[in-house]
């Protein structure tokens, strides 16, 4: 709880500055990698400075712990698939939250065995740290488990969920009040820890698998706040600053996702604490009987190969099928034939902000070829073929026209304005939002049924033969 010596404090300041500069540089593709490196260097400085603190005596154990952690972290980072990024972030996030919570619990143990009276604000910060850290921990783990498909991704609800949650929260508040008066009561403290962990589970339980990325981003913000709270417990600026940075970043990303889905944060938060009434039946009446135009890869290749301009619209399906490399190849082949190829990236295509960008970057697509929604929408009028690969909600015209649709108001990629639209998907099942898509029934739309990777690969070979 004591102040740290100046040199360590100064190192912390340098480390914090490196974090800030690193985040700034993450803002441009050209400098992003250097930015990440700078942030990592900042972390190293912070760790080394801390190890030089005289409070750290137990070197061997600490270093062994770090070695184990590094090994696990490195292996995880190497093994993970690019498509599994959301759950990876979720899992790491959970670890961070757990660490913050454990720090607070450890600090609690230290103070209750100390001789001094425990000041109120210290108890408060410890409780806060346990709460945020605990929720982050179990919430993130559950989100990971859901996204990884270890349990069903559909929202899980049970009777009286809302009242139960409220009771738990009230219990937490009551326990906190009690603990502030009697700071040394271990039982109550442990109960608070338990409630925090439970709250994390209950927070994520009712959220559908597809909504989980938003929650992960929010929990990322929480993990930052947890670190800040731990910083208040230990009176450590390093923790406070970095925590605040992460907290802000998580909140902004959450906002961006919510905005792009045309839902408010409170809506996400409340539907999280409430019951999942997400999955609704189709609304657009009269679609059922309508005819689809289905084509095969050869026909598709003809259309694409003889077009002047093609806009590729990737979505979640491309990510699932890992079709990005095939897509890149298709674009190459088309360009060889003189076709002008662009990619249209919807801000919430896929399941994470920037999801498509990462995948396409993995497949070596030059990023000047990627166009934001606002830039590409005016182009569709002049586009010969829009090729939709495993996207659904982000191209659903109901968002523009059907005021009753759950996605009404969400800005979309207006592929229905192109002269022709080819849609690759496996069947007629709905996208994340669970609504029918009238686009598939339009005259200008051709369906190319099959898994994205297979279909695109077939397109490639057919285009090669043109």
């Amino acid at each position: 709880m004591d102040f740290l010596p100046s040199s360590i404090q100064l190192s912390y300041l340098v480390a914090s500055a490196l974090f800030i500069i690193g985040l700034k540089q993450l803002g441009s593709p050209a400098t992003a990698r250097k930015g990440n490196l700078l942030a990592a260097i900042g972390m190293l400085i912070a760790i080394v400075a801390t190890l030089l603190d005289q409070a750290v005596l137990n070197y061997e154990m600490v270093l062994i712990g770090m070695a184990i952690g590094s090994a696990i972290g490195a292996i995880m980072a190497q093994r993970v698939e690019m498509t599994a990024m959301p759950q990876m972030v979720g899992l790491l996030n959970g670890f961070g939250g757990a660490a913050s919570a454990l720090v607070a619990v450890g600090a609690f143990w230290k103070v209750i065995h100390g001789v001094n009276a425990i000041p109120v604000d210290e108890t408060v910060t410890i409780i806060l740290s346990v709460l945020i850290g605990g929720i982050t921990f179990t919430g993130s783990l559950l989100a990971f488990v859901k996204l990884q498909g270890l349990i069903s991704g559909s929202p899980i609800t049970f009777p009286f969920q809302q009242p139960f949650n409220i009771t738990l929260l009230a219990g937490f508040l009551a326990g906190s009040a009690y603990l502030i008066v009697n700071p040394k009561d271990t039982t109550v403290f442990l109960a608070l820890v338990g409630i925090s962990l439970l709250l994390g589970v209950l927070f994520v339980l009712p959220i559908g698998g597809a909504d989980t990325p938003v929650v992960i981003s929010l929990l990322n913000s929480f993990s930052g706040l947890a670190a800040s709270a731990a910083g208040f417990v230990l009176m450590n600026n390093m923790l406070i600053i970095s925590g605040a940075l992460v907290g802000a970043s998580g909140i902004i990303l959450t906002q961006i996702m919510c905005k792009a889905m045309n839902r408010s944060i409170t809506n996400v938060l409340f539907s999280a604490f409430g019951s999942g009434k997400k999955v609704e039946g189709s609304t657009a009446a009269g679609i059922e009987g309508r005819a689809l135009r289905s084509i095969d890869a050869e026909e598709g290749a003809m259309m694409l190969g003889y077009a002047k301009s093609v806009v590729i619209v990737p979505g979640y399906g491309m990510a699932v099928a890992q079709a990005q490399h095939a897509v890149r190849e298709l674009a190459d082949q088309l360009e060889r034939l003189g076709v002008d190829v662009k990619y249209a990236i919807h801000p919430v295509a896929g399941r994470m902000p920037g999801h498509m960008n990462v995948l396409l970057a993995e497949a070596n697509v030059p990023y000047p070829q990627l166009y934001d929604m606002d830039d590409i929408n005016p182009e569709f009028d002049r586009t010969d073929v829009a090729l939709v690969i495993g996207a659904n909600d982000v191209v659903n015209p109901a968002a523009r026209s059907d005021a009753g649709s759950p996605i009404y108001g969400m800005p979309i990629l207006e592929v229905d304005r192109a002269h022709h639209t080819i849609v690759i998907k496996r069947g007629m099942s709905n996208g994340f939002a669970g609504v029918e898509n009238e686009l598939f029934y339009k005259d200008k739309t051709m369906m190319l049924f099959g898994s994205a990777k297979e279909m695109v690969t077939q397109l490639v070979s057919s285009v090669k033969e043109l």
Partner: protein
């Protein structure tokens, strides 16, 4: 102590302002790396863990601290490496484009 709390609050508020300003400028292309990068930064909890785990005498505090060290290290190392892996892809492109 209340003093320290307020000093901490000042730092927290300022850092939050910086966070909002800096992050708001980051284009959508980089949002996934940003998410994992900032997640790695949140592993800074490791500093707290080190301070708590460092005691020579074994106690519950030290044990909890050590577990925290392991978990936070996973977060840090995994986070930065995976971010770098992602960004490497962006990098390559730049040379080509």
């Amino acid at each position: 102590m209340a003093e320290g709390l307020i000093a901490g609050l000042v730092v927290f508020v300022l850092a939050s302002f910086i966070g909002f300003e800096v992050i708001n400028k980051i284009p959508p292309t980089l949002h996934t790396p940003l998410m994992s990068g900032s997640n790695a930064i949140s592993g800074i909890a490791i500093v707290g863990a080190l301070l708590v785990a460092g005691d020579r005498n074994w106690s519950l505090t030290v044990i909890l601290g050590l577990i925290a060290v392991v978990l936070a290290t996973i977060n840090v190392v995994g986070g930065f490496l995976v971010t770098d892996r992602m960004l490497q892809m962006f990098k390559k492109k730049e040379v080509k484009a």
